[in-house]
Subunit: 253 residues, 4 copies
């Protein structure tokens, strides 16, 4: 059984979510979100795995206790899907450390879109994760640079996302383990749109598409990629003891 946890910064009720965002950020909040994902972003992402008999999906958010990611929930998560945009600072440092600890011992994590600037991604990368951006609803074309990678299986090369926020280079990340996807934007930019890392036992995938005002996560190629990514990021069956043991004696042959 694959135990997936979908975490977003949205209240499970999109209107509630909008209310919070408006309180904090003023009029406009999440903008067009309610039109694109009336069911709430978390549930939209969960829907990708609807009907999978080998999956259980938990939807949670920053509005829950422990920022929605308790020790107990993380202990029962194989892959965490993490969507965030405006409320990176609302996530407490201790929550970030707790997630990192679980990644290091094997939990996979998929960071989506504006989660590039989450404390979590910066903590896993050790860089600023800065980039350039533009909100113009332009189209993006996604190219596979590593067709051999399991996350790219069955994905048509060069497929189009009709409307997307532009994210452009330079993207301040460590040189990826694998650059799986590259994005081409109508307005003239390129981006390393899908990149992987290993951190301890845990696999990390950052994926750029998914601005909240466009129904990107309902597009079939994106769905395929996210399903591939979950399978790729599942923890290895084997995990050995971790820690920092003092081995007092010389080894004997």
């Amino acid at each position: 059984m694959k135990r997936i946890t979908v975490w977003t910064e949205y209240h499970n009720d999109a209107k509630e979510s909008e209310k919070y965002a408006t309180q904090i950020y003023g009029k406009g909040g999440y903008g067009e979100l309610i039109k694109a994902y009336p069911e709430g972003m978390g549930f939209a992402l969960a829907d990708i795995f609807k009907g999978d008999k080998d999956c259980t999906v938990t939807v949670t958010s920053v509005y829950e206790k422990n920022d929605g990611l308790s020790e107990e929930l993380l202990s029962n998560t194989d892959v965490l899907i993490y969507w965030a945009h405006l409320m990176h600072d609302k996530v407490q440092d201790e929550t970030v450390e707790r997630i990192v600890r679980h990644v290091n011992t094997g939990m996979g994590v998929i960071l989506l879109h504006s989660a590039h600037h989450s404390k979590l991604f910066k903590r896993l990368c050790g860089t600023t994760c800065d980039l350039t951006w533009r909100e113009a609803g332009e189209y993006e074309r996604i190219w596979t640079a590593a067709p051999y990678h399991p996350i790219a299986a069955g994905v048509e090369n060069g497929f189009v996302i009709p409307h997307e926020e532009m994210y452009g280079e330079p993207f301040d990340i460590p040189e990826p383990e694998t650059t799986v996807f590259l994005g081409w934007f109508e307005g003239g930019e390129v981006f390393r749109s899908g990149v992987t890392y290993t951190r301890g036992y845990g696999k990390v995938f950052y994926f750029q598409p998914g601005h909240e005002t466009f129904p990107v996560y309902k597009q079939k190629e994106i769905i395929r990629i996210l399903r591939n990514a979950v399978n790729w990021a599942l923890p290895a069956a084997h995990r050995t003891e971790t820690g920092c043991p003092n081995r007092k004696e010389f080894l004997k042959r």
Copy 2:
């Protein structure tokens, strides 16, 4: 003193070169080359270092003895600039092995444009180095993905090459040491346009721009990149003994 060797598949006389190409490939040969580089491709590349008091440049070609890259010349080369297009098969296997041996002991190598399909690059990569392509004279925009890399120093991010052959992903290369540049093409494709590798003591830089029918190597940003690349690829001052020594005795404290 930086000892640069520029190798191309062009006869030093462009008209002679065209004649050979026509013999082998039929009418059309190198096409518009004579207009873009009437001085010959090798001399055009050499011109980039004209006036540098700390450089010596040797221009050679596949029409010379030993395919233009004798043991003696390679022994006196710090960085080899390698441009090739149609005549990859004319280069003998033993020449390729000779070059690789010099790369492994410290000679830098810069492979340009259609040299992606040279025996040399495939030999250094271990992959097919396949890509997709289109000759439409479209414009390309070059983005810096690794602004910290010395090859990117002083290069304006997002500069335009007015006319270029399109090279598109997937580009079948090993995951680069550093992906320095990414290319955006008018017609819709992206490409890892500047990538680095280390092979033994030798540094390797592949750089995509430079189709023979456009005067790309006379553009200031390209000139800056190639000058940076030569400096980056210079052999380290230190080279220790290589080989496969039999160390017969146990080491003593």
Copy 3:
């Protein structure tokens, strides 16, 4: 069904093999091989998969037609296990190119011990693959540097190989994708004993243990590692078209 091909430079009859080796290299040939692997090295390696209902194993050698690796056999191989020592030069260049082509389109390859100096490994690496060595029958301790890697699953950290040829650093290989194992030798040296690469669609694992005069491939930890490595190196289910297509038209949205 996993289709494994075991290739060695041994005639399937160890005594025949010894005879050839003696002809070529003079008295001594493969030395103690017959005592350690009286069944022949190829069959000893094949035995690792004996009884596996989901495996078929073909044993072949350089004494067969096409150096034992015909187009047809390679087309029907998922993972190639490659053991070589003295006869690297007997393998024809065209055979090496044929293997590389199959690796690039997805065939996994596991190179063992002195195959570090095979044309094949040097061709995949682009380096000399030089190292230092000593034949003293000393013991080696194998450490897991990447416990999260599937090849390390279930392998006791720090296990001992009672007698082994020493291979020491510097090992002239490209920086590995993953350094899975490190070897500690009684006589004072260390070695990157298990390293991985990706080349096109193909996975490559080099593994140092396995000198022919010691029955290393009959040791349970080594068997576990080789079985893990075969599973890791299996071709991905998906392979897209390869080649270098000319995409003549601009892409349309």
Copy 4:
């Protein structure tokens, strides 16, 4: 001028330092430190650059204001040398973030020995940086795995450190950019003793030798390595604007 800052957790007065350590950790504190480095660890490290006309060295410690690493000092540091052992938790999180910010914009950092477990190194790696260890004063042999790397220039391969704390694999770090050195320990372990990373514009070198009870930093090979490392880690001459700019308009050709 190279502006080096040496940071340690030692009070500049070794006896004061011992007093603090004893207060916190009980009798024993830094143990034999006073014998090995009576001048204080920070000054011992600074001595490596004594007499260099192109260097200025600042010695600071966790006992200073802002944990000894103020915004002003970091702004005037090219390379930070960081030695820590017992007091990782005494360094405030905001200090760590301040250091990381400076690394990301170009400051080099060299982390020594038990700094593997500093908040700073874990923050740059995204892993636990756990390892195994033993305090037995055994000898270590340092091997160069990447002889081409500038940090290894002029360093004798296989040199011996007469007494050292053992650090053993698995070392839970991301796959290094380059594994420059490997350590062999008398008691049977191996370790990736010198590894590099790039984080933003900044270069990172972790180097294992240097337990406080042995005068390792007074050994000529270690001094050579640290001097090489400082030169390697110097900031690039070029740094472009960082940040996350909104590029509102489509690019024009």
